[in-house]
């Protein structure tokens, strides 16, 4: 195959053809080519100021972790409960997903309690929708009006007449 000529129009064609020169060859390379190498044997432990949940598939805390959004409220309780199951157990993940949905409600309450009324339409990118997809925005608005209108009519029809 006369490949170099065939691919002359593709800049850099075949420059990593040799497998042994590829950055990820072999799959597990040891020792690592860190320059300079790390200057610790075991990393120091990060002090813990908030609750951080831990997988039951490891014996101890990792030396470093994220400390934002500690578990809170009902969703937090569910997350704690979920972490009683291993990652190998589907219940772990399903409970976490359910806790995420509850957390959204708690977030709304938190917003309102702190006197912040969330601008939900704009948080969902409403302005970009109006600007770049006005037809779609109009259709969605019509659908919302239709649903609300139908609900209103149904409610009126069912309400007892006096």
């Amino acid at each position: 195959m006369d490949t170099p000529t065939k691919f002359a129009h593709i800049k850099g064609w075949g420059s990593d053809l040799d497998h042994a020169n590829r950055p990820a060859y072999p799959k597990e390379r040891t020792p690592p080519r860190l320059d300079p190498p790390v200057h610790w044997k075991e990393p120091e432990m990060q002090p813990r100021h908030v609750e951080v949940l831990r997988s039951t598939e490891r014996p101890a805390m990792t030396p470093v972790f994220g400390s934002g959004q500690p578990p809170r409220g009902l969703s937090g309780g569910m997350r704690r409960f979920a972490f009683g199951y291993s990652e190998n157990d589907l219940r772990h993940w399903l409970l976490l997903l359910l806790a995420d949905r509850i957390d959204v409600g708690e977030g709304l309450v938190e917003d309102l309690a702190s006197g912040h009324v969330p601008r939900i339409y704009s948080e969902m990118g409403g302005r970009a929708e109006l600007q770049h997809n006005p037809v779609g925005a109009a259709k969605k608005a019509l659908a919302v009006v239709a649903v609300l209108g139908t609900a209103y009519l149904l409610a009126r029809r069912r309400s007892p007449r006096r």
């Binding site: 691919f7 597990e28 997350r79 959204v104 969902m124 929708e129």
Partner: protein
């Protein structure tokens, strides 16, 4: 500081949060100059990743300036400009010792199957991300990489995830001279995978997507053939027809768990959540590759299960390779490719928006409006 604030599926806003602080002696605080929204952020945005807590800051692709360092940091100084690989990794655990930085065991207490990732839910360590003015960067002696003077800031930005992930996707395909490579997905990672397939010596590169603007883009950027899957009845038959009825040598999944293309997969995966998202591309890849071929997966899949045709993979004798990219491992070589003019990664950026407009940026990207391929956020006060 101003930062993204996740409020629930399809809802984010930019709001004021406390500045991050040094929490570990090897931490640095980085002032963000640019951050990206990534296709994998959309899985968070759509509420598909377990333990994505309200109030979280997303963003695992960012470059910035070091503004503070902890006591034990030796390799960085205030004022250094750095690109920060999306993996949070220690450099010294069992996996880092084998250059599997994407699988570090020392940064994520909350799961063992995934390492720490900035702004990628508590399942990936609970680290706040870079769609903010400032970010806490752990293991500052290991992860952040100084941006050489001759490298464009936005090329460095593409080196934090999209380009190395695309390159590693192609690399895991074990491409040999003249191989036919099919890349599923024409987002930034798919675009970089297609381009990388040529660097690795492919003989034919075919990219599959359904959005005309993305197919146009990848044809130009990566000089490849394209398939619009909406115009195809059956992907496996189509690709076999294109390859003397044998199948492709290598198939690469750059889509992950929200793939379009199969109503049944969308219903069971994305709508009913009976599996961890749709596995359409896995089906296409396994069924379109030739016997003895390789399927490489970098698209994001959740931690629960997917219906995957493993029997076909066994019967065809396939090699399956997959991982989160170990970004740091690829950086020297990829910088050489940029210097040699083989690739200009920043050219995939289509949108530059102020961090204040992050709600619109997410909606634009998620809904594929305005020809959006790769959106970049610029925090307030940044002038470069």
């Amino acid at each position: 500081m101003l930062a993204l604030n996740y409020r629930g599926p399809y809802r984010v806003r930019a709001s004021q949060k406390p500045d991050p602080v040094i929490e570990h002696p090897n931490d640095a605080i980085v002032q963000v100059l640019r951050s990206c929204i990534c296709g994998s952020d959309l899985h968070l945005y759509h509420g598909l990743v377990p333990d994505t807590r309200v109030g979280t800051t997303f963003g695992h692709e960012f470059v910035g300036t070091v503004v503070d360092i902890g006591d034990s940091v030796q390799n960085l100084q205030r004022g250094d400009r750095v690109l920060v690989p999306f993996n949070v990794f220690c450099g010294s655990c069992y996996f880092c010792q084998r250059e599997l930085y994407g699988n570090c065991h020392n940064t994520n207490p909350q799961a063992t199957a995934v390492g720490g990732i900035y702004g990628y839910s508590h399942t990936a360590g609970g680290f706040d991300g870079g769609q903010a003015q400032f970010v806490r960067v752990p293991f500052a002696d290991v992860g952040p990489t100084k941006i050489p003077d001759d490298l464009l800031l936005e090329d460095a930005l593409m080196l934090t995830d999209a380009f190395p992930t695309g390159y590693q996707a192609a690399e895991m395909g074990g491409i040999r001279e003249g191989d036919t490579v099919v890349v599923f997905g024409a987002g930034p990672v798919g675009i970089f995978a297609a381009k990388s397939a040529w660097l690795l010596g492919a003989g034919r590169v075919i990219v599959v997507d359904h959005l005309e603007y993305r197919l146009d883009f990848v044809r130009n950027f990566a000089q490849c053939e394209t398939i619009d899957f909406k115009s195809v009845d059956d992907m496996a038959i189509h690709i076999k027809k294109m390859t003397d009825w044998l199948g492709a040598d290598v198939c690469i999944d750059c889509v992950g768990c929200e793939a379009a293309g199969s109503a049944l997969q969308r219903l069971t995966g994305v709508k009913l959540k009976m599996q961890a998202g749709s596995a359409t591309v896995l089906h296409w890849a396994i069924n379109s590759v030739r016997k003895g071929g390789t399927v490489s997966i970098v698209g994001v899949y959740g931690p629960t299960f997917n219906a995957v045709p493993i029997g076909n993979a066994v019967n065809k004798g396939l090699t399956l390779r997959m991982n989160q990219a170990s970004v740091k491992r690829h950086l020297p070589r990829l910088m050489e490719h940029i210097r040699a003019g083989h690739i200009e990664p920043h050219k995939v950026i289509t949108h530059r928006m102020p961090l204040e407009e992050v709600s619109d940026a997410y909606h634009l990207f998620s809904s594929k409006l305005d020809g959006c391929i790769k959106p970049v956020l610029i925090p307030p006060g940044v002038t470069v």
